[in-house]
Structure formats: C-alpha cells, structure tokens
C-alpha cells in the first residue's frame, strides 16, 4: 500500500501536502531509507530509484512556494547569525511562528525533515531545537520530527531531537525514546531521563 502511494505521487508530482502525507502516514519521514530496507532484488532497486527521484523532487524549491522557501532561508540565516543557546530566546523563534502562521505548521517540519541540501547537520540540530520551542506543531508533526532526528547518524541532531521532545512534553514520545537504541552513553542517559520525565 505504501509503495502504491509512492508511485502515485511519482506520477502526479509531489506537492507539500502529498509529500507530508507520504512521509507521515508511514510515520517514518525517510522513505528512501525505508525502501532500501526491503531487500536488494530488482523490485527493491526499482522502488529505491523511485524514492530517490521523489526525494530529489521534494527537495527542489519547486515543490513549495517561492515565498515559503524564501522565508525558510531567512530562518536559516538567523540560525547562522546567532547560535541557538540554552536558556536564551532566539530571533528565529519569532520568524518560525510567523512562518507557521503564513505557510501552515506542516511546512516547517517538512523543510527540517526533508534533508534538503540547504540543511546540514548543524543547522538540522539548530532547527530541531527551535522547533522544540514551537508550540504550534501538531502531535503528528512532532512525532515525525522526533523519529527523523533520532535516525540521524549525527549525535548533535539526535540530541536536538531529544531536547525538542523534552520541551514538547508529549507523553506519547516516551515510547519512541525508549525504543531508540542510543550508542553514545551520555545521550542514552539523557534519553532515559527525558522519557521518564515526559511519561509523567
């Protein structure tokens, strides 16, 4: 079913809403990786190629409005200009709230989770930390961001995802945190702490 949906999108061309549906209905935003895990036969390769094509389309500016992309770039600019610091408000928080109001709450996580070439690991981590401070996201969007962040091979991104979960105080995230197998000891300890804290 999931693959049919992917192929459907591939023939229609992705839009932000289709893209999100594709990513989040499966509760795993990285379909490319998902496809890679189903096997190495010809069918799997074909699916993977479709995924890669889709991913490329999704990360192209054409799938979102120029205005949204421009606003997103502006947020990235603010992140580059001033690091996100614990305990301090960041100028991009206001810009993010404004972005979410104009383009919809779904647009921010979409940008952050799409692994756009615009967003390297350091920026991803900063975005996740700021998204942790964004009260407008839905439970579904938060979950997708957390899953996506925890899957990263970069410790700063995984840590940022956990920090976001701590700020969201979403009890449902506790199970996701506990299911995650963390290899870095201090982060594993923090994950356990956060899971316990948000589970209530």
């Amino acid at each position: 079913m999931r693959l049919a949906k992917v192929e459907g999108l591939g023939t229609k061309r992705a839009t932000p809403s289709n893209y999100l549906e594709l990513v989040w209905d499966a509760s795993r935003p990285q379909f490319v990786l998902e496809a890679g895990s189903i096997g190495e036969g010809p069918e799997a390769r074909a699916v993977k190629e479709t995924m890669l094509k889709l991913r490329k389309e999704m990360t192209e500016p054409s799938i979102v409005s120029n205005e949204a992309e421009s606003d997103f770039r502006s947020i990235l600019g603010q992140i580059d200009a001033e690091p996100v610091e614990d305990g301090k408000r960041h100028p991009a928080e206001t810009a993010m709230a404004s972005f979410a109001k104009i383009h919809g709450t779904a647009a921010l996580p979409m940008f952050a989770a799409s692994w756009s070439p615009l967003v390297g690991d350091s920026r991803k981590a900063a975005l996740l930390r700021l998204l942790g401070r964004c009260p407008l996201l839905t439970a579904r969007e938060r979950k997708a961001l957390l899953v996506s962040g925890l899957e990263s091979d970069d410790v700063e991104v995984r840590d940022a995802a956990v920090q976001a979960a701590e700020l969201w105080e979403d009890a449902a995230a506790a199970a996701l945190l506990r299911a995650h197998r963390e290899t870095v000891p201090w982060l594993a300890a923090y994950i356990e702490q956060v899971a316990k804290s948000i589970a209530g």
Binding site: P83, E85, D86, G87, K88, R89, D121, S122, A125, R133, D153, D154, V155, E156, D159, A160, Q163, E166, L167, V184, W186, L187, A189, Y190, Q193, V194, S197
Partner: protein
Amino acid sequence: MSAVFTRKVNGAKWQPSKSLAPGEVSADAVTADLRTTDNELSFWACSSNDEAELRETVLALATGGDRLDKMDVAWIEREAVHAAQLTIQETPGHANTPVESLKGRHVDVAKLDVARLGIVAGLIHAAVSAEKKQWRRFARSEVLAVVVAAVRSGRVAIDTLKDELRKDVERAVLSDK
C-alpha cells in the same frame, strides 16, 4: 577536589565530528559556545566540581536566562587555567544573574586573542571529551528543580525572573504545594 571554573556549553557540539580528525576542536563549537565580548569570556568559579557546586552555576545561569532549557555545564581546573597563563579577572559586575550571593563567583578570562581563545577551546574540548568527562548535563526538569528550590528558600525572588521563565517556575512552585 580542586577548584574549577565552570561554563555553559552545548555538549553535543564538542563531540567528535565526522568531518574532523580525532582530537581536532570543532570550529562550530568554538563559534557557538565561546563567543567573547570585549575579548573576555565568562566563567563561574566553584570550589570544586561536586554536584552542589555545579548546581550553583546552574542556578546563576538559569535565573539570568529568558527561558527554561536543559543545560550542559563544563568545568576546567583553575590550575590548568593558571598553567596556561590565561588572565582571570573577578567580575561580579558582569554576572547576569539576579542571585546576589552568586555574583561574586563570576570571573572573566580576559585579554583573549585568537591564540589564547584557542587555548581555552582546547581546555573545554578536553573537558568535554569522553576520557575526562568534565561536563554534566542537567535535564530541563533538573534545571527547573534547582530554580524552584532557590525560590522556595528565598534565594531568588520570583519577580526577578524573565516572563517566560517566571511562568514555568511559578507553575512548578504552585503544582508542588
């Protein structure tokens, strides 16, 4: 335990980077966590690195902030700072905290040029390394507990806290009554 200087860092930024060789100090970490003003870098003096002393740093930093987040505190030994011939100035006037009793702990590493900042970066990098483990993460709930305890004991007047932080602390104080 020896006396230390503590500073808030982002522990994750100081971890080994995929793009750098082992032991190399991440420039991202330096530019994010070691931003100087007037060629000075803020630290808090502690008599040791025990838990109670680290919590004093958390209290000083958290109460001077805008909001409540987790906090990573790294520490470097005073001896190492002196051995590196870095200039330490006691600067209670630079302490950004409403906790009067903690202002006297504030110090600046002063007269920093790029080379000396590099030395500080090396000390912090070593502190956060897996070998030394001279840093401690305080989860948001722990930071909140430190501030709430200080409010309850009268060390911090709640109206000295900034709005967003004050609301979180007020809620916690009321919910535990």
